[in-house]
């Protein structure tokens, strides 16, 4: 450590209507793990895209020095050659190709006829993967791996390029606890071999655990200098990020549990690839007005599938009964669920939540399109007014209502997804990982909002993989493991160990 290998100087990057980066300066040393933090839309991803050639010179202003030499990348290839690798916020791999092909895309060893030398390719891939201590077969299709393993493949790909600076943009948001541990081990090993790391995350505990130093971005500018992690508290970092102290990360309100609203009985979802297995196996539960019901469990425990079944995603393929306010519902599609007053904030915003190349108005009003139109024509004025109201309320950072949502930062996109379901005014709001990728300030805003909704009589159900969030916000917690409900805990009985015990499949007497 100590030797400076990267300096970014006075970086400015403008998009139509926004200055995403405003004179950003920072330096990175050999073998350093630098955490880059900041609110949604602060410019973290944009800064890293400038560094890695996604935004080529001269679409930005300012200078980048690698080993004291000025570099101006015209594309990502050049940045890769210079030893800069990036694991993007959204994975960038090809699921239908093999692991090895993904690692050596465009660089496969070829024979005289231009065919791929498969054995050599697999051998090389094995070599790179073994550097990560990863037990992954380079021959299988990438799409057959878990998200965590896919990410390892991305890292392997970066390593195969002799990367000296490796950027991680929110790498853990889709990983299980075990996978996160694995990832951290790998990152620490990389540091030991003198790779420098820039690590972006909204999970401050991770940063505390992993990073050597922190740089905070707010509204496109660095706040203060780079600080050593040992010389700063989390509260100070948060204060730099949002410009104020956040007193209460989990603003819990003691509600009175009222009448039963949503009740589901014996929900089962078959596994389409394995008729003997069930993704959701005979789950029953009830939710009440005046409480937040949390659903906890490890990734793959069937939580998403459970709420999808309630929402009608599987149509006739799922079994079970659903009651709302004592009335039996016949839900065969999401449209039925919405009509009955059930809303689902889906987990994967890019694939399932947003029309990326449509504007905010169209996205936000889509599920409640009926209320914005007479028999024939859309009421565009009403649409804008309501959208505007929710943009304000959720504090969505956007230059206008007319930009495509793909231009928003990850966290602001998430808020759009939440907003579109709030507009439906449903009786039951199910949120699947609602705070994934959003910053601490915005998280508390979402929590406050959930509280407000409960207060106004909405039944709120939240799936979350983050234990502090589940424990902090829920009044009651259902734990799932391998498709089955393994526990139902009152807030008072729910501590970390108990939840983890049930989440790992330890069935208790209930």
């Amino acid at each position: 450590m100590g030797e400076e290998i990267l300096e970014m100087k006075n970086i400015i990057k403008d998009f139509p209507g926004v200055r995403a980066l405003d004179h950003v300066n920072f330096t990175l040393e050999k073998g350093e793990i630098l955490a880059l933090v900041g609110e949604n839309g602060a410019g973290k991803s944009t800064l890293m895209k400038v560094l890695s050639g996604v935004w080529p010179y001269p679409t930005y202003e300012g200078d980048i020095y690698l080993d004291d030499a000025l570099v101006r990348f015209e594309n990502t290839r050049e940045a890769e050659k210079a030893g800069i690798g990036i694991i993007h916020q959204e994975l960038n791999l090809l699921p239908d190709l093999s692991v090895a092909e993904n690692i050596f895309l465009d660089r496969q060893p070829l024979n005289k006829f231009g065919g791929i030398k498969w054995e050599e390719l697999y051998h090389n891939a094995e070599k790179v993967l073994s550097r990560l201590n990863m037990d992954i077969d380079p021959r299988i299709d990438l799409g057959d791996l878990t998200v965590g393993k896919q990410q390892m493949v991305e890292i392997a790909k970066a390593l195969s390029l002799d990367t000296r600076i490796l950027v991680f943009d929110e790498p853990t948001s889709a990983l299980t606890e075990a996978e996160i541990k694995e990832l951290f081990t790998v990152i620490n090993e990389l540091r030991a071999s003198d790779v420098s790391i820039i690590y972006i995350s909204h999970k401050l505990e991770e940063i505390e655990e992993l990073a050597d130093s922190v740089v905070v971005l707010r509204d496109g500018a660095t706040i203060g200098d780079k600080i050593n992690i040992s010389e700063v508290t989390l509260d100070e970092i948060i204060n730099r990020m949002v410009g104020r102290d956040i007193e209460d990360l989990f603003p819990t309100v003691d509600f009175e549990r009222q009448e039963k609203t949503l009740e589901v009985k014996n929900i089962s979802v078959p596994d389409p690839f394995n008729p003997d297995k069930k993704l959701v196996d005979d789950v029953s539960f009830a939710a009440y007005k005046g409480e937040i019901l949390g659903i906890s469990g490890l990734m793959g425990a069937g939580r998403t599938e459970l709420v999808n079944a309630i929402f009608g995603v599987y149509g006739k393929k799922s079994e079970g009964e659903i009651f709302l306010n004592g009335k039996k519902l016949n839900i065969k599609s999401p449209a039925d669920a919405i009509d009955s007053g059930i809303a689902l904030v889906t987990e994967d915003r890019k694939e399932l939540g947003l029309l990326l190349d449509k504007n905010l108005v169209m996205n936000m009003t889509l599920p409640s399109i009926k209320t914005f139109s007479s028999k024939f024509a859309m009421d565009t004025h009403k649409e804008r007014t309501i959208t505007e109201k929710y943009v304000d309320e959720l504090n969505i950072k956007t230059p206008s209502l007319d930009v495509f949502v793909e231009k928003l930062s990850g966290g602001n996109q998430q808020k759009v997804v939440i907003g579109k379901w709030l507009i439906t005014d449903s009786d039951v709001l199910i949120l699947d990982e609602p705070t994934r990728g959003i910053d601490v300030g915005a998280k508390t805003e979402v929590y406050r909002l959930m509280n407000q909704l409960v207060e106004s009589g909405v039944t709120v159900i939240m799936i979350s993989s983050e234990l502090p969030e589940i424990m902090g916000m829920s009044d009651r917690i259902i734990v799932m493991s391998e498709g089955k409900k393994t526990a139902e805990l009152e807030k008072a009985e729910a501590d970390q160990e108990t939840i983890m015990k049930y989440a790992t499949g330890n069935k208790g007497a209930e």
Partner: protein, 370 residues
């Protein structure tokens, strides 16, 4: 200026094409030729309006040409068998266009089969039916009034009045739609406004010179204009139109937001089927009969019009105004090449290249904005 060109690129291309052709062939600009041209555009344009909606859903309909043929045959045979003209037309629109469209839409949406396959099948089935019904030979129209629909004109004075009303309504619409709200302020989109005004006035002048100079507005053109206006309104203003853009944008997201994909898709194919049938009826009327091969290859012109008009084959992006310009471009190219005496075999080659070019432009544009 750059924005202006980008927003109105196809229109500018059309103007260039017209200028070049009027130099190359003096008879191109004659009212008679232009009236003919517009009538040809009409036949393809009516289908292309439906095709726009299909491609907006990232789908395709290859059966439109055969639907044209079968409809022409059916309406002719129905009248031969003594059924009244209007009833025959109605039966054809519903029984041929509606049924084939329903089959296309329902099968592809319900069983999640790409419409390419289903409509390819229907294309062959419908063509086969035409051949069976006619025994492979042309059938003549016996009803006199029927011929009027395809070849008649609205007299000059009413035509003029209609054109003026269209001009005024068009300008009002341009003014209203060029207003955009930015950061809470109402701002006028200058590029859109200028483009819109030029387009509307040019349309009026063209209409005036072509129709008033000859015999008035051809009835098929009037029908086409009405269909276009309804189409534009549907896509821009209605809930149904909004749903189509949403489904085209991301079908899964739209479905999870409560949109009934099956119903919307089926509806779009039914509309396209009915419009193709209408086109076939007009063609039978103009030709005073139907041959079983009528409409062969029409799907290509319709698809080309839509793509040239800026609708993305990836779905979710596109307008009917664009398609109309695209249809006129195709019409001008067909007509121009015939005037210049270019063999129709070569015409096919040229059109093929134009389709590829239009798709390239779409792909490059996408990459630009990504």
């Amino acid at each position: 200026m750059k924005k202006f060109i980008k927003n109105n690129g196809t229109f500018i291309a059309l103007i260039f094409l017209i200028i070049i052709l009027s130099f190359l062939s003096p008879s191109f600009l004659s009212s008679r030729n232009l009236t003919n041209l517009v009538r040809q555009v009409t036949i393809n344009g009516i289908i292309a309006v439906g095709m726009t909606m299909v491609i907006l859903l990232a789908g395709i309909d290859l059966s439109v040409g055969s639907t044209v043929g079968l409809s022409a045959v059916v309406v002719t045979l129905l009248m031969q068998s003594g059924i009244g003209m209007w009833l025959a037309i109605l039966i054809t629109l519903v029984g041929v266009g509606g049924v084939l469209g329903f089959f296309n839409g329902f099968m592809s949406a319900k069983f999640d089969i790409h419409p390419f396959i289903i409509t390819l099948g229907v294309m062959t089935i419908a063509r086969g039916l035409s051949l069976v019904l006619t025994q492979g030979v042309s059938v003549p129209v016996t009803n006199r009034t029927f011929a009027e629909i395809g070849s008649g004109y609205i007299p000059k004075i009413p035509s003029l009045i209609i054109l003026v009303i269209a001009l005024v309504l068009g300008l009002i619409a341009v003014f209203r739609t060029s207003m955009e709200i930015k950061n809470g302020d109402k701002v006028r989109n200058k590029a859109k406004l200028t483009g819109g005004i030029i387009l509307t006035v040019a349309g009026f002048l063209a209409g005036f010179l072509i129709f008033i100079g000859y015999q008035g507005i051809p009835i098929p053109v009037a029908i086409f204009a009405v269909i276009v206006m309804i189409g534009i309104y549907t896509l821009r203003k209605t809930r149904f139109g909004r749903k189509l853009y949403a489904i085209g944008g991301n079908e899964k997201v739209a479905w999870l937001s409560g949109i009934n994909i099956l119903r919307s898709k089926t509806m779009v194919f039914v509309i396209t089927g009915v419009l193709s049938a209408a086109s076939g009826i007009l063609l039978a009327s103009r030709l005073n009969g139907a041959s079983p091969n009528l409409g062969d290859g029409f799907e290509l012109d319709a698809i080309a019009s839509v793509i040239i008009g800026g609708t993305s084959f990836m779905g979710g992006v596109g307008t009917i105004t664009g398609t109309v310009i695209g249809a006129i471009i195709i019409g001008v190219i067909n007509n121009g090449m015939s005037l210049l005496g270019i063999n129709s075999f070569y015409q096919m080659i040229v059109k093929g290249f134009i389709i590829i070019l239009a798709v390239m432009i779409d792909v490059l544009n996408r990459r630009d904005t990504a």
